[in-house]
C-alpha cells in the first residue's frame, strides 16, 4: 500500500469507516503482537491480556494519529502500546520482572517518578527510530505477511524453500523475471491466490521439481515484486 493511500485509509478509519479500520488493524496485527512481546520481554500470543492492551492502544493510535508530523502510524502506535502496557503493569503490580525492567531503565528516578512522561516517550521513540531503520519496513513486512497468509504461507516456512546456493538463487530470480513477463501466469497468481507451478514449468521450460521445491519462496518473492511500493522489501529481490 502506498503511503498516500495508507494515510487516506487511516483518515477514513478515523472518520468512522470500520472496514478501513479493520483493514489497517489486520495488516498491522503481527506488528502489534510483536511490539507487545518486545515491551513485555517475552513471547506474547493473542490469548494474553497484554495483546488486548496492545490492540486497544493501536486502535486508539488510529484515532489520535496526525499525519504530517514526521512519524508513521506504526511508530506512533509503538509509543502508545508501550505506555499503556507500562501503566497496566503499574496498576496490577503483577509482573515484577516487567517493573524491575522499567526501574532499571529509569535509573535515578524515585518511585514517585515512575510515571512515564511525554518527554520520556519521545526519547523512547527516538531510540526506536534509531534502532529500526524505518518503521515503514515493519509496515511492509506486516503487509507481506498478511498477503502470504492468503496463499497459506507463513514466514517460518520460507527457509526450507529458500535457495541455499548462489546459482540456485540466480535461477529462482530468472524464474521470477520469466513469470512476471507472462500475463496469464500473473493473472492466475493474483486472482486465484495460487502459484501455477505446472503451467509455469511447462511454459517456461523449467524443471517442475525445481519449481515445486522453491514454490513458497517464489510466491514470497513474486508478492514483493508485485508491490513496488514496498521500497525497503524490494531491495531484497534483485533481478539482474
Amino acid at each position: 500500500m502506498e503511503q498516500a493511500q495508507f494515510e487516506q485509509e487511516v483518515k477514513n478509519a478515523r472518520m468512522g469507516n470500520e472496514l478501513a479500520r479493520q483493514n489497517i488493524i489486520k495488516n498491522s496485527r503481527s506488528y502489534i503482537i510483536n511490539v507487545v512481546s518486545h515491551v513485555c520481554k517475552r513471547f506474547v500470543t493473542w490469548n494474553d491480556d497484554e495483546a488486548s492492551i496492545g490492540l486497544l492502544a493501536f486502535n486508539r493510535a488510529i484515532d489520535s494519529y496526525e499525519e504530517g508530523k514526521g512519524r508513521s502510524l506504526l511508530s506512533y502506535a509503538y509509543c502508545l502500546i508501550r505506555r499503556d502496557l507500562i501503566n497496566h503493569f503499574r496498576k496490577n503490580h503483577r509482573n515484577e520482572l516487567s517493573l524491575d525492567y522499567l526501574y532499571d531503565h529509569s535509573n535515578s528516578f524515585s518511585s514517585d517518578e515512575i510515571l512515564i512522561t511525554a518527554e520520556e516517550i519521545e526519547i523512547s521513540v527516538r531510540d526506536y527510530l534509531e534502532k529500526v531503520e524505518s518503521s515503514d519496513l515493519a509496515a511492509e513486512i506486516s503487509e507481506l505477511e498478511t498477503i502470504l497468509e492468503e496463499y497459506g504461507i507463513g514466514f517460518e516456512e520460507l527457509e526450507a524453500s529458500s535457495p541455499k546456493h548462489r546459482d540456485t538463487r540466480e535461477l529462482t530470480m530468472r524464474m521470477i523475471a520469466d513469470f512476471l513477463t507472462d500475463e496469464e501466469l500473473r493473472y492466475d497468481f493474483i486472482r486465484k491466490k495460487r502459484f501455477p507451478a505446472t503451467a509455469f514449468a511447462k511454459k517456461k521450460d523449467y524443471p517442475l521439481k525445481t519449481v515445486e521445491r522453491h514454490r513458497k519462496y517464489l510466491i514470497a518473492m513474486l508478492i514483493i515484486k508485485l508491490h513496488p511500493e514496498w521500497q525497503h522489501l524490494s531491495g531484497y529481490v534483485r533481478i539482474d
Binding site: Y31, H38, K131, A138, I141, E156, L233, Y236
Partner: protein, 407 residues
C-alpha cells in the same frame, strides 16, 4: 563461525524469522529473552547445521577407524629388532631400538605356557629372557641333568644396526651360569627375509635356519619334521640321520673303516710291544670291517684271511687276528650278530696264542680273559697246531670254539 545479520520479519515461539540481504529467509533459534522488533536488524552467530555435524562425525569416525587400523603398522614401524628364541618353546619378540619389548608371540604350544599372559610387554628384553629361562627351567624344558639347547636369532630391521647379539649372549650365559644349567647356546643374526620365509613355512626362524642348512647339506628332512621334532633332535638331526643310514645300509665302507681304525688304535695302545708288521692299519681295517660290521659275510672273509695268512706267516696272522679281536670286542660288542661273533671268535684264541708266543708279560696280560675260559683256549691252541695240516678243519673248529667263547 561468523556473525550474520538479517532483518526480523516474524517472531514465533521457537524462532526469529529473518530475511537475509540476499533475499533468502532464515529461521534462527530464539531464546526466551530474545524479543526483537519486526524490521529490526538482528545479528546471530551462524551455527553449523546438523548435517554438517553428521559429516564431521562421519569424518572423525573414519579417521578413528584409520588410526585403529594403523596402530599395528605404527607399532611395526617402531619395531627395531625381532628376536627369535628357540629352547623348545619357540618365541618371537619384537623390541624397539632400546630392546624394550613391543610384542611377544608364541610360535608353538610350549611357548603359550611360557608367555601366556603377555606380561612381558614394555619390559626390557634381557629381563624378560631371564624370566623366560626361569620358566623353562620350571617347566622342565631346561634342567640340570642334561645339556639343553638355546638358539637365538637377532633380526635387526632397516636402520637398526646396533649389534645386540653379544649383549644377549652374555646376558643369557650369565643367567644360565647362575642357574647352573648346561646349555649349548647358539646366537646369530639373520634378515627379515628369512623370518618371512620361516613364517611362510609355519616355522620359527631358528628352526627354519636349521631346516635350510640341513636341506643344503642334502639331508632329507621335511618342513613338517622340522616343525614337529624337538629342537635337540633337530640340532642333531644330521648325526641321527647318519647313524640311521649306517644301521640300515651297512655297505658304507668309509664309516666302518673309520671305526676299525679307531678300535685298532686303542688296541695299539694296549699292545704297544707288537711288531710294526702286526700294526699295519690297512690289514687291521680290513679285518675290522669284515669282523665288526659286515655281519653274515664275516665268517667267509675271515676264513679266507686265515687261509692266506696261515700260509705266509702264521705269527703275523695271529697278531692281525689279535687286533681284530679287541676291535670287535671293544667297539661293536653286543651289536654283533651271531654270524659275526662266529667270525670274531676265531681270533681271540689266535691272538692269545700269538701273545703267549711273543712275550711273557703280554701273555700274562692277555691270559686274564683266557683264564676265564680255559676250555676255549685249549681248543684254539689245538686248532692252531692242526691248522697247517688240516685247513678246513681249522676253520670249522675255530668257529666252534669262538662261538663257545662268546657264549
Amino acid at each position: 563461525m561468523e556473525n550474520i545479520t538479517g532483518t526480523v520479519v516474524k517472531l514465533t515461539e521457537k524462532y526469529i524469522v529473518l530475511i537475509m540481504p540476499d533475499g533468502s529467509f532464515k529461521n534462527v533459534n530464539r531464546s526466551k529473552e530474545q524479543v526483537p522488533l519486526i524490521g529490526e536488524q538482528f545479528t546471530f552467530r551462524a551455527t553449523v547445521p546438523i548435517y554438517r555435524w553428521a559429516a564431521i562425525a562421519a569424518a572423525f569416525l573414519i579417521f578413528a577407524i584409520c588410526i585403529k587400523l594403523c596402530i599395528p603398522l605404527l607399532d611395526n614401524s617402531r619395531t627395531a629388532y625381532i628376536i627369535a628364541l628357540d629352547i623348545n618353546p619357540s618365541i618371537e619378540i619384537q623390541t624397539d631400538n632400546k630392546l624394550r619389548i613391543l610384542k611377544i608371540d608364541s610360535i608353538n604350544d610350549d611357548a603359550e605356557k611360557i608367555i601366556g599372559k603377555s606380561e612381558y610387554l614394555n619390559t626390557y628384553l634381557l629381563t624378560a629372557l631371564e624370566n623366560i629361562i626361569d620358566k623353562c627351567i620350571g617347566y622342565g624344558y631346561l634342567n640340570h641333568e642334561r645339556t639343553g639347547f638355546i638358539n637365538v636369532t637377532v633380526i635387526p630391521l632397516k636402520g637398526n644396526d646396533l649389534n645386540y647379539e653379544n649383549t644377549i649372549k652374555e646376558s643369557l650365559q650369565g643367567v644360565l651360569k647362575n642357574r647352573n644349567v648346561e646349555v649349548k647356546l647358539a646366537i646369530g643374526i639373520s634378515s627379515i627375509d628369512i623370518l618371512n620365509k620361516a613364517h611362510q613355512n609355519n616355522l620359527s626362524a631358528n628352526r627354519y635356519i636349521l631346516y635350510r642348512d640341513l636341506t643344503e647339506k642334502g639331508v632329507a628332512i621335511t618342513v613338517d619334521e622340522a616343525r614337529k621334532i624337538p629342537l635337540r633332535e633337530l640340532m642333531e638331526f644330521e648325526k641321527i640321520q647318519k647313524n640311521r643310514t649306517e644301521e640300515y645300509i651297512p655297505e658304507i665302507k668309509d664309516n666302518s673303516g673309520n671305526k676299525g681304525r679307531k678300535s685298532g688304535t686303542n688296541n695299539y695302545e694296549t699292545d704297544s710291544s707288537k711288531s710294526s708288521e702286526a700294526l699295519n692299519p690297512n690289514d687291521n681295517a680290513d679285518f675290522g670291517s669284515s669282523g665288526a660290521l659286515k655281519g653274515g659275510n664275516i665268517g667267509e672273509k675271515s676264513n679266507g684271511i686265515s687261509d692266506t695268512t696261515s700260509d705266509d706267516n702264521p705269527n703275523k696272522e695271529n697278531e692281525n687276528t689279535d687286533t681284530t679281536i679287541s676291535e670287535s670286542n671293544s667297539i661293536e660288542g653286543k651289536k654283533i650278530s651271531p654270524e659275526s661273533s662266529a667270525g670274531i671268535g676265531i681270533n681271540p684264541s689266535q691272538g692269545q696264542t700269538s701273545n703267549s708266543t711273543e712275550s711273557g708279560e703280554s701273555i700274562e696280560q692277555s691270559q686274564e680273559p683266557a683264564d676265564k675260559n680255559d676250555d676255549s683256549i685249549d681248543a684254539t691252541n689245538s686248532n692252531i697246531d692242526n691248522r697247517g695240516s688240516n685247513r678246513d678243519n681249522t676253520s670249522g673248529n675255530s668257529t666252534d670254539s669262538s662261538n663257545k667263547r662268546c657264549q
